[in-house]
């Protein structure tokens, strides 16, 4: 089959690789009909994600048709149309039974790496670092889905691939980011980052009742889309974020802050972010936490910091004194996708939201390598790329 494979920094190749096969009786083989490039894919594309190996098939946002089912899989049958969450979960361990699917205790087959890196291992993920299991990803013609009788979401007739694809990651990610804020009707919610996850976080915050939603970024097209979703926008290249938030919140700061940027924050206009760049270049800091620091300072006391962006390693100079003394709550984590999919699928079906709004580019899978660069550099108004095998 054909697939997108990682071979190093800025080196994604469209290659012929062996077809996947059933390895466990609960597996299923999915013929991919639609997949996407995620912002977190850029972390390994830019060489910031440890644990990648040359030849790894990438991609964790995908859906398709079931073409083969293991003998013990009673949930799926050949011909089912499914969206596959990026987190692999067993449905049986204590964490899964609590609904903490992204920290499933069984599915990371490289558990020792996870334990070493994070203290305790987390769930296996599709198409990502070997620290999270090294499972082949979905930017491919076919994918083996382990524990396929648990996570995959069956899609009813009447919904297009583009409407439901993002149920596997970015829609529940934005929704969880907003839900973690425990939004009250008088809240101002501020979202850092107007990429795809930020766009869904904005709309989720609106749907969950925020009185005012603010979004911070510097890309005009992304800010335009954020305004379309109901956000007041701040372009950090044009004005002071701190002062504008003061103005919008009557000097109190946003009640709830959502971080949808991650470890490669791109601001270079403050001393702390310049220092982060220098330290990262000599590998004494792995992540760039400028946005985290800013959130910690501006958040209203007793507020919530909801961190959806992906971080991988160490960050320096975190104003934890501000966090502690203001009584801030930090909620974070990879998305517990299956916690949200039933409800969100229902809302899509009921017409409350059409997630396809975020798609700006749809190309054949073979154009994937070039689209990684387009997506990373935000060229041609690129916000979200869908790939069709």
């Amino acid at each position: 089959m054909k697939a997108l494979c990682w071979h190093g920094k800025h080196d994604i190749r469209y290659e012929t690789v062996p077809d996947p096969a059933i390895e466990h009786p609960r597996d299923a083989i999915i013929k991919t009909t639609c997949c996407a490039i995620c912002g977190s894919d850029l972390h390994f594309y830019d060489g910031f994600m440890p644990g990648m190996k040359s030849g790894d098939i990438v991609g964790h946002e995908f859906m398709g048709e079931v073409v083969e089912v293991g003998a013990e899989n009673k949930k799926l049958k050949v011909g089912d149309r499914v969206v596959v969450p990026f987190t692999i979960c067993c449905g049986e361990c204590e964490q899964c039974r609590r609904g903490n699917f992204s920290v499933c205790e069984r599915t990371n087959r490289k558990k020792n790496l996870g334990d070493l890196t994070f203290g305790h291992s987390t769930a296996g993920l599709f198409g990502y670092t070997h620290i999270t299991g090294g499972y082949a990803g979905g930017q491919a013609e076919y994918v083996r889905v382990p524990y396929a009788d648990v996570a995959p979401v069956k899609i009813p007739e009447g919904l297009t691939d583009e409407q439901v694809l993002f149920l596997g990651d970015i829609f529940p990610t934005g929704w969880q980011a907003a839900a973690q804020c425990d939004i009250q009707p008088t809240d101002t919610v501020c979202v850092w980052g107007a990429g795809p996850v930020g766009q869904f976080a904005i709309r989720s915050a609106i749907m969950l009742g925020a009185e005012q939603v603010i979004c911070i970024d510097n890309v005009p097209e992304r800010l335009d889309m954020a305004r379309a979703g109901g956000a007041i926008t701040i372009d950090f290249d044009e004005e002071s974020v701190l002062d504008r938030l003061q103005e919008l919140t009557g000097g109190k700061g946003p009640d709830k802050c959502i971080e949808a940027v991650g470890m490669e924050a791109h601001s270079l206009r403050s001393i702390d972010s310049m220092i982060d760049r220098v330290k990262q270049s000599v590998m004494i800091e792995s992540d760039r936490p400028h946005v985290l620091r800013e959130m910690m300072y501006v958040c209203r006391p007793a507020g919530v910091l909801s961190v959806a962006g992906v971080y991988g390693g160490m960050v320096d100079k975190i104003p934890f004194g501000a966090v502690m003394n203001k009584g801030l709550t930090i909620r974070t984590g990879q998305t517990h996708v299956n916690r949200w999919t039933d409800d969100l699928l229902q809302r899509i079906g009921d017409g409350q939201i059409d997630p396809s709004f975020v798609i700006t580019h749809s190309v054949p899978l073979e154009d994937g390598p070039a689209m990684y660069r387009t997506f990373r550099d935000k060229e041609d108004g690129c916000i979200k790329v869908v790939l069709k095998p």
Partner: protein, 197 residues
């Protein structure tokens, strides 16, 4: 509320974000200044020897501090022009210092080479300083219009709160937004909208 009243206290300390493109010759010079300055601070004798300048560590370190400060100024200022002209002035001082080495150290080839490099750097600095963007807001052109991409069937304001109620088909009574209450104190904390089955 006055403009000063609405300013966040930290914005007085943290430099304002500058206008202008992210990738520019001014930015490259800013980083170059910082790198050169750090080298002069860390290795003053070696840097003076390489440049053919007098072996005066204190002077070299002072130049290093100047370079680092200038670089930070270029990278964090709203208008980098004044800082770029500071670089030009610094170049003149460096030429004078290295030229002094020509007289005192007797290594004419190395010193002349350094002077030639410094003159070249000075010309580049002057060129970039003259071309630096003016101190006014630059227009940010939108290349694609995404203003119609809300994802919602209704204006965002009418979608507020629909996620706090069980899903219902849009247009049904169950999905209509309730009137907003003026009494914020009556709002109760909400639990997460769906849990694992």
């Amino acid at each position: 509320m006055s403009n000063d009243d609405i300013r966040h206290p930290l914005s007085r300390v943290i430099p304002s974000r500058p206008f202008g493109p992210m990738r520019s010759p001014a930015r490259a010079l800013g980083w170059f200044s910082i790198a050169l300055g750090l080298a002069e601070l860390a290795m003053p004798r070696r840097m003076a020897r390489v440049a053919g300048a007098p072996n005066l560590p204190a002077l070299t370190r002072a130049c290093g501090l100047r370079e680092v400060g200038t670089g930070i100024g270029i990278l964090t200022s709203k208008d980098p022009s004044p800082w770029l002209w500071v670089r030009v002035a610094g170049d003149a001082l460096d030429i004078a210092a290295v030229g002094g080495g020509l007289v005192t150290r007797g290594r004419p080839l190395r010193t002349l080479t350094s002077l030639a490099v410094l003159v070249g750097v000075t010309l580049i600095d002057m060129k970039v300083a003259e071309a630096a963007p003016p101190e006014k807001k630059r227009s940010r052109l939108l290349t694609h219009d995404y203003s119609g991409r809300s994802g919602f069937p209704l204006p965002a304001a009418q979608m507020r709160g629909v996620g706090t109620r069980p899903s219902a088909r849009m247009g049904s009574a169950a999905s209509a937004s309730p009137p907003r209450t003026e009494d914020a104190a009556s709002a109760m904390p909400r639990s997460e909208t769906s849990m694992a089955s």
